[in-house]
Symmetry: C2
Subunit: 332 residues, 2 copies
DNA sequence: GTGAAAGCGCTAACAA
DNA sequence: TTGTTAGCGCTTTCAC
């Protein structure tokens, strides 16, 4: 492995100057700069990231914790995060916690031990737990769709209340009166809670009384949508279903199949988040912010912090947009 | 951050000895050892992994590349890998390449730059490409279900031929004569190719002529199963479908739904790999090796290599086992 | 069984 | 604008 020292002896230019060139220090004569690059290329020099990190104190790694990467909500956000981070020379390390709070804690402390440069936790942990974990780690963090009080952090938020509201409103506009809501476990998912509030508000604003028996809670995956479906089908009055997220909607559809119900024909379904591209042609309405943009923004914030920006922390909200593919409307 | 030096001054024991204790060097008096641990705990000392890595030359990170983590085949294997690696103090870094060979190459070279300790590529790249990438990286690698000629590496293989054979045989045993096969793109997936051969062999062994028009190729995800379904439904003779993997089977089921076909009732479906736990009660037959065990074995091999084992490289084969949940057989 | 000293490859403060 | 020097925190000879 060729090191700075090797280039020093080959070129006669000191390590410091070479280091300056690599790190784009402006205080190097143009001529020297070019000569250095020549040698770097000729000798195929690659800086030793670990050695650099020892001096700097951190590795250019960023921990991204997601509840469940199979969940499109996370997957799309991660896509945005990855793009920005790798462009900036950071290596995103994405972990699936499966909403296991203990695992999330372990990961966060691992990030500390490994001297990660930053962390973007989109965890299942509630705010208090997360705050506690984050207190003990000194690296910058940016939150996505979390609500934290004690620590001052940059945050990027999608308008989840709006998503819930719009998703429910769509069903109301289609004439439904008895609308079920498949929700998350509200103590563990703030996002899900807000969407649920949006659903409730939409109903109330349109003169429909919120019936707690129409709100079914699960843990946001296919399996729990599957379980909830059983209960929904017991109530013949329900005609519209507002699913807190896409995966639960999937579970619903799957269970429907096993009992001979074709959800997308017999019911009106809308989701409080963007559906995967592949499903955009289905008769599923959905509302939500642009997740990839959210990811990009969050990663951008993080990099600023890593680079020691002293700007005051900020929160940015991304509005929800409702999407419905009309070409399938006729299926109804 | 408390360092060795701090413990040295606090305890009066030299850094070297403390380092020895941490690294379980037997040449330390029991008494000293205990005293050192006392200080380590009291002062809450955590070794600086980056500093250690600079001396050692590698970071305790292991790169795991998978084609598509949403694919249960990879997900289960990764579960096994993660268990073993984290028990041994390594941090697995899992990347989704989405079968993008260029991305895989970038990841492998990133692993080199970051001085990863090892790599487990379960990539979409074909053997030649992979070999080339692996040549340029000096860290240990263990292959899963790959076939490589030029380099000598440890390998863990599932019996994919057997899986394909058993999956198809199941349908034959159920009386089907016209059995479609949903396969992968054979030049990019060796696994898929072997399963396809198994399917062909099962047919031939049972006096059924292989009809190339019954083999439909896609790229192993839901979307392509969805597309292939359209073609399968055009052929009214087909009664059994042998899906190369589970995701394509999913796509088939989904498309069936949109045209009013209930695959699991109207057809007999079997997959050449284990299905996700959640689907184990469906009327889907499946055959394949225990993926988590494969992952564990691969990680175990890798750790041995990292620790500089000089044993000759080895290949291990995991046999496929057929599973079929009889309690749903009556649905037929 | 233990400590002193060298050095991993880099950056950064200080001199020149 | 450049070079010299001093570390970053650890492991690893080499003496003792």
């Amino acid at each position: 492995m060729v090191t700075l020292k090797d280039i020093e002896s080959a070129s006669g230019i000191s390590k410091s100057t070479i280091s300056r060139v690599i790190n784009n220090d402006p205080n190097v004569k143009q001529e020297t700069r070019e000569k250095v690059w020549e040698y770097i290329k000729k000798m195929n020099y690659k800086p030793n990231i670990v050695a650099r990190s020892m001096v700097k104190g951190t590795l250019p790694l960023v921990l991204v914790i997601v509840g469940d990467i199979q969940n499109n909500y996370f997957a799309r956000t991660v896509t945005g995060i990855e793009k920005v981070l790798s462009d900036e020379g950071y290596m995103p390390v994405v972990y699936n916690s499966m909403y296991d709070v203990e695992k999330e804690k372990r990961l966060i402390s691992m990030a500390r031990d490994f001297k990660f440069a930053g962390i973007i936790p989109m965890t299942g942990a509630n705010s208090a737990e997360l705050e506690e974990s984050l207190m003990n780690i000194s690296c910058p963090a940016v939150l996505i769709n979390k609500d934290i009080r004690k620590i001052q952090l940059d945050e990027v938020l999608g308008d989840d209340f709006g998503s819930g509201y719009m998703a429910a409103k769509h069903l109301i506009d289609n004439g439904h009166k008895c609308i079920a809501h498949m929700s998350g476990n509200s103590e563990s998912s703030a996002v899900s809670k807000k969407r649920e509030s949006g659903y409730c508000a939409a109903l109330e604003d349109n003169g429909i009384k919120v019936d707690k028996n129409l709100i079914f809670r699960g843990n946001l995956d296919i399996k729990s949508g599957y379980e909830i479906a059983k209960k929904i089908f017991e109530n013949p009055n329900i005609t519209g279903i507002c699913s807190n997220n896409f995966l639960m909607g999937m579970g619903l559809i799957r269970y429907g199949r096993t009992v001979g119900k074709h959800i997308l024909r017999d019911y009106d379904l809308s989701c409080c988040e963007c559906v995967p591209e592949m499903y955009e042609n289905e008769r599923i309405a959905y509302a939500g912010p642009d997740l990839e943009e959210i990811g990009k923004k969050a990663a951008g914030f993080l990099i600023k912090r890593i680079k020691n920006s002293k700007e005051p922390q900020q929160k940015i909200y991304f509005a929800a947009t409702k999407v419905y593919n009309p070409k399938n409307k006729s299926n109804k």
